[in-house]
Amino acid sequence: MHSGSVSYDGASDATKSRATVVSLEQQLEELHPASFAWALGLCGRDADDAQEVLQETYLKIFEGKARFDGRSTLKTWLFAVIRRTAATRRRLRWLRELRFVRDDVSAVPDGNESAERRVIHSERTSALLRALNRLARRQREVIELVFYHDMTIEEAAGVVGVSVGTARVHYHRAKQRLLAELEAS
């Protein structure tokens, strides 16, 4: 479990502040693979999008726009920040697309997708992803947090920003539907 508070008794304020930043950076580095995987899930498995969401999240943290107050684990807080950043990005993209539709320009894809950054999935995991995509967004998020990121339902509720009861309902419905979809495929 990660905690954001580190004790630096006897050090000056500047030293403490620097040590806190270094400590936070170390903890972010430890959580980096999991953070990227979470961002990947939120961005429809688009690696470039996920990387940009993660970059934006880290910048928010380093600039002090998102502060860890120690009310949850660092991982839960970080995942919630990533989720909010991805949601903002999704909204901005939606607005941009609306404008493109009205202007009727730039709607043509440039074919410049970075193929090397795309994640290659096996047939088995592709089937799992297809089944995941059929779930409602909240259900998908809760199930991914529990099964992919080994979080408890309580932690997943903290990340998604719903009550534990609601998260439990999402979890059970998502699990049933996911199993049914996988058995059918």
Partner: protein
């Protein structure tokens, strides 16, 4: 069917695509916001033109009025030189005497 196993496979596949943490930016690149600069310049231009074109109502303060009164009341110290002997005659109209009864 074990969901934990399926997700573990997915995690293992996606772990290969994780970008290096060191490559993540630590500070935002400062981009020159040309649009903002252009908008600010346009606003300044409009404000300047409006100030130039708009009629300015004249407003005199009490001090301005007092200064104007003192200028109007001022008399030059050489003013007495204009009062020459007989200058009163020039300032008034002469009266024509009554010529009745005067033999021609």
């Amino acid at each position: 069917m074990n969901l934990h196993e399926r997700f573990a496979e997915l995690r293992a596949e996606e772990r290969r695509a994780v970008p290096r943490f060191e490559a993540m930016p630590r500070e935002r690149r400062r981009r020159v916001a040309w649009r903002m600069i252009a908008a600010a310049a346009t606003l300044l231009l409009i404000a300047g033109i409006s100030i130039t074109i708009a009629p300015h109502p004249t407003k005199f303060s009490d001090a301005d009025r007092a200064a104007a009164r003192s200028v109007a009341a001022w008399q030059p110290p050489t003013d007495f030189l204009l009062h020459t002997p007989g200058s009163d005659m020039l300032a008034s109209t002469p009266r024509i005497p009554d010529l009745k009864g005067i033999p021609r």
